[in-house]
Amino acid sequence: MQVRTQNAWPSVEFDLMAVNGWVVPLLPNLFYYKLFHKPKWLWPLAERVIRRIAGLGEVDRQAGERDVRYEKRYRFPDVCVVGGGPAGLAAGQAALVAGRQVLLIDDRPQLGGHARHSIAPVQDCREAALNQLPAYQAVRQLADQLKDHPRLEILTGTAVFGLYEDNLVAAQQGHDLFKIRAGAVVLAPGATDRHLVFENNDLPGILTARGVERLIADHRLAVGENAVVVTCHDGGYHTALLMLGAGTRVQAVVDARPEGQAGPFEQRLRQLGIPIYREQTIQAAHGDSWVTGIDIGSVDGSRCLRSFACDVVAIAVGFKPQLNLLSAGRCRPVWDSIRQVFRVPDLPPGVYAAGDVNGTASFAQLYEEGWVAGTVAAQGMPQPASERQTADLISALPAAIESGGTHHIICKCMDVTRQEVRCSIAEGFDAVETLKRYTSMGMGPCQGKQCYETVARLAAQDTGLPAEAAALTTLRPPFAPVSFGVLAGRSHHLQPVQRTPMHGCHQQAGATFVEAGRWQRPYAYSDPDQEARHVRQHLGLIDISTLGKLELSGPDALNFLQFLLPGKYGKLAIGRTRYSIMVGEDGILFEDGTLSRLATDRYYLTTTTGNQEAINALFQWWLTVESFNVQFKNLSAVYAAVNVTGPTARDFLQPLVDIDLANSAFPYMSSRSAQIAGIPALMFRIGFTGELGYELHFPAEYGEALWAFLLEQGQPFQIRPFGVEAQRILRLEKGHLIPGVDTDALTNPYEAGVGFAVKTDKPSFVGKAALSAFQQQGVASRLVPFMLNHAQDPIPEDGVAAFSEGKVVGRVTSSRRSPTLDKGIGLAWIAADLAQPKREFTIRLGSGQQVQATVLAQAAYDPDGTRLTS
């Protein structure tokens, strides 16, 4: 463990910052709200200094670089028991007896809770075998009985930091986050020592009694040499005996209760000659960097009666229940004036409470309550009301011992004093919630676990309310510190990567990849310009497996396509392929692809990579809501696909397939079924690249084999793979748009230049009304191909503005340098009156430089399509 000081300088032993202890009382209450705000520049400086002096934690900026494994784990027990003390163990045992699967969680390394430190004998316990055993032996025996039960899982060293709707329990164990969805939750988190407010109560050496007991019992540590125990119940005597046993000299026990019948521990101490002072309590502690002495006197703080020199003070003034989980922002705790604690009497269905969290009790009573809670939780029944013996109850001391002085600390995390609370209430912050926000009480690392009770009681007291009207601030999770890493888990699992069937081949070929949605596609294997040039001159191969591939068949397949797509396909012959677009009901263009007729009632539609899943969902939806007799198959993952393209594509493929590839037998915009290397494939003669090309769609499991086969067989033709960047260049040379890249959410087909794919003279179809309206209103701007006027001009970035005569007339959507034409080319939206062939416009680059461009009538490359159709 590495321990560092937070706000001591230069060291804890010689701390110059201790001067603040003298300065701060001279400043106004909560001075940082009131000072250093004028002039304006002062506050940022003051804030830095104040934060440094306050010793706030620092973000560990190296945390992400360490090899830490954050796991998220899930559990679904019938009964989840939080707390491994007597009540929790009994609840778990009862739920197991009822046949349930149980998860028992405790934040300590060993089960047993505070009973692990107790030497008090167990009496009258339902579990007879435990009677007469010291409590520490009893819980050990209980834990041993349970630990190997097949239906019990025990998570020790696990902090529950939240309880949410539907019994979702959040817990942290190391770097693991447990999300536990339980049928029922039994909360037995216990109670912690009550906080006592007196002068200098934050001096090192002033410890809680259970803390002292834990140091002795769990860590075998003797705490100090000269101790005084301050108490108001028998537990203080128990602590004193343990301290004596550990070798600490107990100078006195100061008991706030009036004289009465002495319990067994008190009797033992009296026999040992330890002085006991009744009806007195601690009033002030003295010391500089460690407690060196204390004053004791009347409980109301008015009279100081004695002083002791000591180096340890154990405070045992009762217990406050750990209500955070019970409250969980939903159930507000109330002050129980009989049990003298805050309690949550009513819990949501499925949540049960047992043990010290309902008020202190004997071991037997805690066990009984846990057993009942476990039983009813297992059966899903309501919990009977909690009961307590009068003898077990501990009367609360005043929330603060008003013995004078200015250093009565209420919130030890945030160093808030009694005086500051008084002043804040006087300033008008008299409701507990506003008081908390103004003073920062309860907002430190412990999140109010230590001070919540004191804050509520003092707020009520200082505003003249009765104790029963004391209200807690809202207790919200996380109730234990939890790191962002634990909450976030491991990031790389959040974004799975989609790989094509040929991904391994691309990796081996040294491709660089680009993300296209969730896909990883080869960006390039070498220089994209060279790849594009090679396709124009020789032969290229590209992986297009990411395309969506949909097959529709059945008697209504044509009608369905006519309904969903804006084109007309009644005359589409078998074996022919047609460019197709998709629009929404608003007539906006969002997709394009090709539609092929494979057989009389069988059609094959390709979609773009990015819209693959959306189009599939859209088709499914329309087939659900409309009564078309159509069989719909999404073959996107079933088929891999490649495009073999280049002037020699036909010569290369002909010997490898079993069909005639001659232009007359397999013309442009056609499809065929074929076998290639014995593999069944669909072949499409289409030309996104602007060259003679064949798309091959074939079973995905052959992806790697066929890719390698084509590269090997194509060596005589100088075949080379090319990536999406070369493809972008090639398609721009040909002036092909990509929906979503060159279009946006306002683009209609007429403006985009694909109005030829819309046929409004057919019966109702998706988007007909909107398309008709668009057709009538004409176009305000057009998507046109352009070419830069000068070869040496730099290439415009995507999205830069187009100007004419000093006015903005449009924008560039895509632009690249054409390696074939050695000039910048692209697509741009231009105002309709300017979007005419040979019209010039100006493009302003990101750098501010301006370049001249000319609108083209047709594609920059092969405008007549000779190469495609030959």
């Binding site: 796991e71 969805r181 491991r490 974004q495 990567v497 989609q498 990796q507 010997p655 014995g678 499991e701």
Partner: protein, 223 residues
């Protein structure tokens, strides 16, 4: 031109290259026999967990009205099985995903005949063998891998052998088929490598090892 038949590659072919994998040809598929440590992998099946690539498993989706009745002739009793349950006859398993959607699993060499038989009906039949990746997760600590991978309740007393679940593992949609001895995880081929990496990553803590058909032969589907 005489060509040697092309092999079918697993979606984990890229993963194979990262390990000293020994492969074998199984019904035309190139599959991992082991990942370099056959004895250790077999030991891990007993004491820890193993993740085996069963990509070659035949996977045929069948959907449409009347699917239950038609499939009942092939896998008797399947029509009576509720959604998210399964029925098995020999090495043929029918997973009922919804009322009218099934996923049939079979041994690799049975796939073609099954598809041919099914296509005789008017149902929508897709041979998903190459489209879906398939892992078998086995071993005594396999639950610990799953609990780190999904928010779904997979307690053995509530999700019994034969159950079919559609869930996500590490944000990847999967169909999970539980048998008495192993979990069959079916998922998109394109995400197979991502899912493998994610499962191995969370499985390291419980000793999960990648393994092959030597440790877990695909015929175990029918056992």
């Amino acid at each position: 031109m005489t060509l040697s038949p092309l092999v079918k590659t697993s979606p984990l072919a890229g993963v194979y290259r990262r390990y000293p994998v020994k492969t074998e040809l199984l019904a035309g598929w190139c599959l991992a026999q082991h990942f370099g440590h056959p004895e250790r992998e077999q030991q891990q099946l007993l004491t820890g967990a193993v993740l085996v690539d069963w990509a070659c498993l035949g996977k045929v989706s069948v959907s449409g009205r009347g699917a239950a009745e038609f499939l009942d002739q092939i896998v008797p009793g399947v029509a009576a099985v509720p959604p998210l349950a399964s029925q098995r006859v020999g090495s043929l398993v029918a997973l009922r995903l919804t009322v009218n959607d099934y996923l049939m699993l079979c041994l690799p060499d049975q796939t073609d005949s099954l598809v041919t038989h099914l296509e005789a009906s008017s149902l929508t039949v897709i041979d998903q063998s190459g489209a879906l990746g398939c892992f078998a997760l086995a071993g005594s600590r396999r639950d610990e891998v799953l609990e780190r991978s999904t928010a779904l309740n997979l307690r053995r007393d509530s999700v019994l052998a034969g159950a079919v679940l559609q869930t996500t593992l590490h944000n990847i949609r999967c169909t999970l088929y539980r048998t008495a001895d192993l979990e069959v995880i079916l998922h998109s081929r394109n995400l197979s490598e991502s899912l493998f990496d994610a499962l191995m990553d969370v499985g390291i803590g419980v000793g999960l090892l990648p393994s092959g058909t030597l440790t877990l032969p695909i015929t175990l589907l029918s056992s």
